[in-house]
């Protein structure tokens, strides 16, 4: 397990050397995204109002922000579950040229394929520690605020060594949680046994 301090825009060579379980700290300019933004762009055929060439890291997050003296203040930030955005995952990766997705949980097969084709990784925090991260994040700007609302707008953030995030999908299509699932499934047999649930248990079919 290695630690990496990466700058955005992230390069192919940066992500190609990342292995499952490595820890990443991020610096540079990124943007936030939730489903309403993806629906607005990909389903409703609107144009993303900014370039992603130099901003090729997307964070799945609904930040808490309030306006104080005409300036936005970030109150809280915790990456959210990526799997719920699977519907638009592959398009986001390929059309926006993403090299890294910061989120929680994982992505599905279609997105993982697009990630492999586009050299993109997924990373997630191994704790729920928003208060440890606030000093590493500055709000730069916000796009589509009126159209999408506070938490689903595209926030442009400037990061200063934000992390650590664990690499859970690498550029080769390997998934950290798939590997762990095998261990959990093996342990599940022990759990059933401990609870006295027989191997051939089946529910009575009521419907």
């Amino acid at each position: 397990m290695a630690e990496y301090y990466l700058n955005v825009p992230v390069k192919d060579k940066d992500v190609e050397e990342l292995q499952l379980g490595d820890l990443v700290y991020l610096s540079g300019q990124v943007f936030t995204c939730r489903s309403r933004l993806q629906k607005y762009i990909f389903d409703q055929k609107n144009k993303l109002p900014f370039q992603t060439d130099d901003r090729n890291v997307l964070i799945h997050v609904g930040p808490v922000v309030i306006k104080e003296n005409d300036e936005w203040r970030l109150v809280s930030f915790m990456p959210t579950s990526s799997i719920r955005f699977e519907k638009w995952g592959a398009k986001s990766v390929s059309e926006w040229g993403l090299k890294m997705i910061v989120g929680k949980t994982t992505m599905g097969e279609e997105t993982m394929k697009a990630m492999k084709d586009n050299k993109c990784v997924h990373v997630s925090p191994q704790c729920v520690s928003p208060n440890l991260w606030l000093d590493s994040i500055t709000i730069q700007n916000v796009y589509l605020f009126d159209e999408l609302g506070t938490i689903e707008a595209a926030w442009h953030l400037n990061l200063n060594k934000l992390g650590p995030f664990i690499v859970d999908i690498d550029t080769e299509g390997n998934n950290y949680f798939d590997k762990l699932d095998k261990e959990i499934s093996a342990n599940l047999e022990k759990v059933y046994k401990n609870l006295g649930i027989s191997k051939d248990f089946e529910y009575t079919k009521l419907y």
Binding site: F77, Q126, V128, N131, D168
Partner: protein
């Protein structure tokens, strides 16, 4: 009389406290998990989360950016004299949810399920939600629970009706399978408290599961031995999974298992589960008839637990 002015202040403080302060039982659960943890990454994750929890208290800042579904649980004295009655109480709660959202103590999370309309204040049709228990006396106890999106969405909160023939084995199987699905890849932000509701109609079982997860203290035992034993065996067994903090591997996958039950129809047994977030948000204040107000660490929702 318990006045509207007092209710507004106390409701606002309850919401704020829920967003920024973790109860003692959850804090203890973190300490215990850190002490037991043998995997270095998991230990570090638990420590960082606990440090962030401490900073929330110090700075009066949010514990987590997902401030969840807004849920109120009241214990209302049967002879409580509430200015404007229960309808005024609910209206003041809606106003305070909107105020807490404006001031950054709640995220504007509630939206129309079909149109996606975001009112920007977490107030809409049937939201916030209100649950009541009526008790002896003249006091009013207010509990606010923020039920996080991850903990509710990812398979940890489910129900089904099983046949009597499937009995305790069927209950254990359903609870285990729901839980395993919910902790994979850290979906519900484990470890946390798992609530289980058994019996009643499906909605009764689901409500009991949610209350068991969100209102009971960690490691409080059910007074009936059959349920206390079931709680213990599920707790010990589910912690053999190795899912750990955020599902990334570790010794503690669940902080506690709390079971509540209702008598059921001979036709079948409703079983429901509700996982809470690791960052379990709840706060309780009590307004006494003489006007004094006290914060309580536990709502004592189920007598003694």
């Amino acid at each position: 009389m318990i006045t509207k002015k007092q209710i507004s202040e106390v409701v606002y403080n309850t919401i704020k406290s829920s967003s920024c302060n973790i109860s003692e039982d959850i804090t203890e659960a973190f300490y215990s998990a850190i002490e037991k943890e043998t995997k270095e990454n998991a230990k570090e994750g638990l420590k960082k989360t606990l440090r962030s929890i401490e900073l929330s208290k110090e700075k009066g800042n949010l514990l987590c950016s997902d401030t969840g579904w807004p849920l109120f649980y009241f214990k209302v004295g049967n002879e409580a004299n509430i200015e404007g009655g229960i309808m005024a109480l609910e209206e003041l709660c809606r106003e305070m949810v909107a105020k807490a959202t404006k001031n950054g103590y709640l995220r504007s999370t509630m939206k129309h399920p079909i149109t996606g309309d975001d009112p920007g204040n977490n107030v809409g049709e049937n939201i916030p939600d209100f649950t009541y228990k009526f008790v002896d006396g003249k006091d009013l106890q207010i509990t606010y629970v923020a039920k996080g999106g991850g903990s509710e969405c990812f398979g940890g909160t489910r129900s089904r009706v099983i046949a009597f023939a499937d009995g305790i084995e069927g209950i254990k199987k359903f609870v285990t399978d729901c839980f395993v699905a919910s902790v994979r890849a850290g979906a519900v932000c484990p470890p946390s408290v798992l609530g289980v509701g058994i019996g009643g109609t499906a909605n009764v079982a689901a409500a009991l599961a949610k209350e068991a997860a969100c209102l009971r203290t960690v490691m409080s035992c059910h007074p009936e031995p059959v349920f206390a034993e079931l709680e213990k065996s599920l707790y010990e067994s589910l912690n053999m999974l190795g899912a750990g903090i955020m599902g990334a591997g570790g010794d503690t996958s669940v902080f506690g298992v709390n079971i509540e039950y209702a008598y059921t129809h001979i036709a079948g047994i409703a079983v429901a589960t509700s996982t809470n977030c690791m960052i379990a948000r709840r706060a309780t204040f009590k307004i006494y008839d003489d006007g004094t107000v006290k914060q309580k660490d536990t709502p004592n929702w189920f007598n003694g637990r």
